[in-house]
Amino acid sequence: MSQRGRAGFTVIEAMIALVIVGLVLTKLTLVVDQARRAHEEESVCMALDDQALELIDRISYALYGSDPQRITPFMQTPLPASEIHFQVTLGVENGEAVWGEPEVIGLSEQGDSVYWGQNVGEADERMVVWANTVSELLQDEVLNGVDDNGNDLADELGLSFVMDGKSITIRLTLERSKDDEKTVQVTRETTITCRN
């Protein structure tokens, strides 16, 4: 047998090949990881946005049928409220509007979830948690007694209500963070007009 039939890779060739394969694999891993992170982040963002939109709509539909004179507390710029007590009309009897049981939408005591309640504190109390990813403060707001995010409100919490005549402006920030990774925040705002 000749020396040519016994051809193979030299150590250097093998090492170079290994290095190149390693680089390619590393790069591949980085790309896949980035894609995965982006996918996760986008998914979380989309989910939060979807949740915020749904929650804002839910709060809006609940408040449309209320009467501004029956809404408490008194929440005007620059001191918003994070809880709103209201009543909606059920119809008319003897020419007068009939009002339903007192309802409330607000932040829980821990400040991280939004709940709806009816007859709170009474024997027939009902409460439902509508969302539990609420941020402590509205996006870009810092607890310092000053309006940091330029919306003319001071230290507004993750859910805030401000009234102006028959209009109610609802602001909401949802957030989600995973371990030590970046926190994703989504903020939604809408202004509704009470129809009664």
């Binding site: 008194f74 005007q76 620059p78 001191l79 007694g145 000053v146 230290d155």
Partner: protein, 441 residues
Amino acid sequence: MRSGKGTGRRAALAVLVIGMAAGLAAPLVAQGGRASASAQTPAAIARLFDEARTPQELRRRLSTAGPEAVPILFRCLVDDHYPPAGGGERAALTPEVRAVVFDVLCERPRRELTSFLEELAALPPSTSERLEAQCVVGRFGSGDHARLLARLTLEADPSAPIVPELRAGFTEALSAMLARDGAAVSRMRELVADLPPRLSGSIVDALATVPSDEATRCLASLLGRSTGLDPLILARLAERGRAGVHIDENTQEAVRRYLGSADPAILCAAAHTAGELRDCEAVEVLVQLVDHPEERVRSSVFAALASISGLAYGSDGARWTSWYHAEMRWWDEEADALLVRIERGHGAEFARAARQAMEHRLFRDRIAEAFAQALRRNNLEEVRLSCRALGQLGSTTAVRGLLECMQASDPSVREAAWKALQSITGSDLPPESDSWTRLNG
């Protein structure tokens, strides 16, 4: 030479004597002139009317007339005709001429007018004469002429009713006098005591037109003097509350006492007044009245509670009661800490305390006092926040502090204070602080 000097001295002496004589004689001449003018006959005064071509000229001519012109001018106004000029038909006064005659008459020296009107009051005068006399007193009079005004209004017969037009004239004239002579307000208490009760209502109405603190105190001090007068006084105090005039604690206390009355009419009036005064201290008693057997009392109470609290619980007595108890619980358990945070807190703590304070309007005056102290801080952000919070609370307690803020050097603080004052008083005056100071006495 010597004779020349002597001649000069004599001439100077003569000039001096003549000058002194002229100076002494001038007043006599003037007096004589006036005496000759004051001796003008009615015909002469009538000629003044005829000779004047314009109202301005008439005014000039009539101004030179003597005291005898007073009754003639007065008669013109009463009859609404030119003065008689030797028989014949007299023409009616035109509105311009009437205004001139009235002005000239009222510009006569006070003692002349007073003595004439005193004589007139003693006559007794007719209703039209009384009405005209009231207008004259209202134009020139001060607090010293209030009793004269009363004599001109009342008939000699104490049982005779007051003609409604005379009553209205009395009120209008007294209002004008009080507006002119603010010091007379405090004497209205004696006037009510001294004059017949038939005029008490008119005196109260006249006092109600004076927007000063003194007038408010005077009105409040009249409460209790006569049960018949109380509803009117309560109504007038309610008007002041509605106008945003600051009502002191003594006045509110005086009104509050009437919430214990057994008379439903008085109860309604007191509840209405307490509501207009936004008297938070009255809520305790009002809540006890939510189950009153009289429907009109209940509706007054509910309206008052709505006015004081800003809530719209309608006629739901149970809801009002539970709200009140919740507020009292909060006041007993949490209010002190909150007020301390408002008075001493800074930054986020202050903002949070402010937000929580807005939820408890029942104690707005006390909370407003705490915010009023914050108006003196150096932190402009906190001062602005305090101004806005005070505007939302609507308590008149903070008006003086806000008035001081309207003179601050920072324009944003001035604007915040102005908007707060607009919200509290309901007035839309421009931000120049002078007008606000006048508004609040």
